[in-house]
């Protein structure tokens, strides 16, 4: 039985009962919906052995091939599988631990991810280091057997629903930029950590500020060595462009389907301008899919192939435009909020963040021009460059 058939079977049997209500839910912009049910779903999913399929067999994975993993993701999305509460753990943390972690760290952390019992979030951005990621001010000092952390992280997705956070912090006093950083794994439920939600334009709060005041983690919870924090943080970001993008695209397909359905129902499908925009959105999604296949077939080691550099800006811009299209397709009623924001209204509002988080479109264009096209870097300013 192919992996697609296997999953199909399981989804038919298990995405039922109370889980019905989270079908199609929990995607980007909707990550605040039913957190408890989605945590339960993550555990059920883990128990069934669906997490970590690409991992080596010795760590409980199935060493799944890329194309099989692609099929797996597509099948999951086809069923309207809920946005995965454990996706940061599975797609970012686990590959990083597998690549750079010690044997002891693998044993300690991989099972919690695989079982869906330990959820992760990401502590990279800081209030004064948005696009300039290397400008880290959060400090870590070694005190006996513990790292002690002070500082503030921001734009941490789902911190309030997570158990652990990975953090880059400055371990060497006086170091600058990419030097002197450490990559630490920190448990969130402790007195030295305070989490404050950031309410977004949509009124919902996926993002948080995380304050560290003498927060502690065991000295063994450092990945790599002191001074290697930047290298590890960047490798982790490389994994972000992995096969999970194909699952994301299936979510996009569902949104597009909803727009097409709406247009056919309210008659706007006959408006040539909207027809063309919808057709272009459809074309864009097909392009996105084939681009991901090119990218995934190009490299399988977390590095980025040339075409891989366009992935983030392409999907973010496409998705933001889809949000505007959705509202135009709804028409005059688009402004009306019944009870709560409808999925298409959420799409419209939340997607404004897409072109900003995880590297703004402007930063993406810098990266493309310098890394994919080899153009010269800009002179840095004199202030502290």
């Amino acid at each position: 039985m192919s992996i697609r058939e296997e999953l199909n079977q399981w989804m038919l049997e298990n995405l039922t009962g109370e889980f019905e209500q989270i079908r199609w839910r929990g995607g980007p912009g909707d990550e605040d919906s039913s957190p408890e049910l989605r945590r339960a779903w993550e555990q059920k999913f883990g128990e069934a052995g669906w997490i970590g399929l690409q991992w080596p067999k010795e760590y409980g994975g199935r060493d799944l091939s890329l194309m099989d993993f692609v099929e797996f993701n597509e099948e999951y999305a086809r069923h309207g599988g809920p946005g995965r509460a454990g996706h940061i753990g599975e797609t970012l943390m686990a590959p990083t631990i597998l690549a750079y972690g010690s044997e002891a760290q693998k044993e300690r952390f991989l099972p919690g991810i695989k079982n869906g019992t330990e959820l992760w979030c990401q502590g990279y951005s800081e209030p004064n280091a948005g696009s300039d990621l290397s400008n880290i001010k959060t400090k870590a000092r070694l005190d006996g057997d513990s790292w002690v952390i002070n500082g503030q992280k921001i734009w941490t997705s789902l911190a309030h629903e997570s158990d652990w956070i990975f953090v880059i912090a400055r371990a060497e006093e006086g170091s600058k930029g990419r030097d002197g950083l450490v990559f630490l794994l920190v448990e969130l439920d402790q007195p030295g950590i305070e989490i404050r939600p950031i309410h977004q334009i949509s009124g919902t709060a996926e993002f948080n500020e995380v304050y560290f005041t003498e927060a502690k983690t065991d000295a063994t919870n450092m990945i790599g060595d002191v001074g290697e924090g930047w290298k590890i943080a960047m490798a982790l970001l490389g994994f972000e462009r992995g096969a999970s993008t194909l699952g994301q695209q299936m979510m996009f397909q569902n949104e597009l389907n909803l727009i097409i359905k709406t247009a056919n129902e309210n008659g706007r499908a006959k408006d040539p301008t909207l027809r063309r925009r919808i057709a272009e959105a459809h074309a864009g999604l097909k392009v996105m899919r084939f681009n991901a296949l090119r990218m995934l077939n190009g490299t399988q080691d977390g590095s980025t192939s040339k075409e891989g550099y366009i992935s983030k800006i392409f999907w973010a811009t496409w998705h933001r435009d889809l949000g505007e299209l959705a509202m135009d397709v709804i028409g005059a009623d688009a402004e009306i909020i019944e009870d709560e924001l409808s999925p298409l209204q959420k799409l419209f509002l939340f997607s404004r963040a897409d072109t900003i988080y995880a590297g703004t479109n402007q930063i993406q264009r810098n990266i493309i021009s310098e890394r994919a096209l080899g153009m010269p870097k800009e002179p840095r300013g004199s202030a502290n460059g």
């Binding site: 300039d132 309410h199 977004q200 334009i201 408006d271 688009a334 988080y357 800009e378």
Partner: protein
């Protein structure tokens, strides 16, 4: 020298209004309060602005107690209320309502209603029910939505086709039998929206304001909606101002982000869109067009749709240039973005607006109706 095409008195009004509205808005705090209250309407502030400050009558003729400052007068007000998202029915009452009455009412009704508008003693909501309401046995039935400012209007002016396919304009008290107003939450929380339900509302239960043919009615309605261009210009200016403040203050990579060409060029594009919209807005309010209703209709069509598109683009770019903070609720920029999105769809969509303009400039049309519904 006042800035073209305004006169000195317009500039004076602008200075006064600007300060008052800035105090009202209080750097975004008031917008948060209005959003929380969920009415999209600040009654106390409206009374202060309309009555005490005397702003409701700015464009009402002097003979009815107004200041008689013409379309340029209300352009100033709309620009400044757009700059602060002043949550009050100036547009509904003093533009749409006043224009309808001015164009279609009898001299007696004008004397009565226009002076009430000028003194700030009445709130009017205008409903274009031509396609939503049906007349049967002298009574109207149907739903009009969205109905801006209907939730707190003292007088609801309804346009509907009569038996001869003319447009009849009738004024109703919100307490009229069969008429009910249900406010709804809008994506834009600083503007009041509602659905108005008509169940056999007798024409005779309302005040007959006037009648006209469909084309004339559409023209007057479009000219009134042209004033929204000024609101878009005000809002766009605010978005640009916020962006420039932020870009000059925020440091990344060791430089003010405002020194990066990508940020500078985006701000330049915002400025180009803004000043173009401003030209479109001022053109529609230009006294040169006062004697040419067709030219004025066309200029209003251009102004509303051109400025609404520009505002939406500017507001979206402003969010992008702010980075993370731009899409937080706490930072008030999103209210402007939401207003911009709403204005694009209010009255007619930009798409329909430009198709109307295409008719207007003599492009042959298809006979089939291509719009939705």
């Amino acid at each position: 020298m006042p800035s073209f095409p305004f006169q000195e008195d317009h500039d004076m009004i602008r200075e006064a209004v600007k300060g008052w509205l800035s105090d009202w808005e209080d750097g975004g705090k008031t917008l948060h309060r209005v959003a929380k209250e969920g009415q999209g309407f600040d009654r106390t502030a409206w009374e202060g602005f309309a009555r005490d400050q005397g702003m409701a009558g700015i464009s009402i003729a002097e003979q009815y107690g107004g200041a008689g400052m013409g379309l340029l007068g209300r352009t100033v007000i709309m620009e400044e209320t757009g700059y602060t998202l002043f949550s009050a029915p100036f547009f509904s009452t003093c533009v749409l309502g006043a224009d309808m009455i001015e164009a279609f009412a009898s001299e007696d009704d004008k004397a009565d209603l226009l002076s009430k508008i000028a003194s700030g003693d009445i709130i009017i909501s205008v409903l274009d029910g031509r396609n939503q309401l049906t007349l049967k046995n002298g009574a109207l039935s149907g739903v009009v939505s969205p109905a801006t400012d209907a939730a707190h209007a003292d007088l609801i002016l309804v346009a509907a086709y009569d038996e001869d396919n003319n447009v009849a304009l009738t004024g109703y008290s919100p307490n009229t039998a069969g008429l009910s107003v249900t406010p709804f939450a809008s994506i834009d929380p600083t503007r009041s929206q509602a659905k108005v339900f008509f169940e056999n509302v007798a024409l005779s239960d309302g005040q007959a304001i006037g009648k006209t043919d469909n084309t004339a009615f559409s023209q007057i309605l479009q000219i009134a909606h042209g004033a929204l261009a000024a609101e878009c210009v005000g809002g766009g200016q605010r978005c640009l101002d916020m962006t420039l403040d932020y870009a000059n203050q925020r440091v990344q990579f060791g430089r003010q982000i405002g020194s990066f060409q990508s940020v500078k060029h985006k701000c330049a594009d915002m400025f180009i869109a803004l000043e173009s919209a401003r030209s479109a807005s001022y053109f529609a309010a230009s006294p040169d067009l006062d004697d040419d209703p067709v030219a004025k209709f066309e200029a209003s069509l251009i102004a509303k749709n051109y400025a609404a598109e520009a505002y939406f683009k500017i507001a979206g770019d402003a969010i992008q240039m702010h980075g993370g903070i731009g899409f937080t609720w706490e930072y008030p920029l999103h209210y402007f973005f939401k207003r911009a999105r709403g204005n694009r769809a209010l009255f007619t969509s930009s798409e329909d607006g430009f198709q109307m303009l295409a008719d207007q400039i003599g492009l042959a049309q298809n006979t089939t109706d291509i719009s939705g519904e």
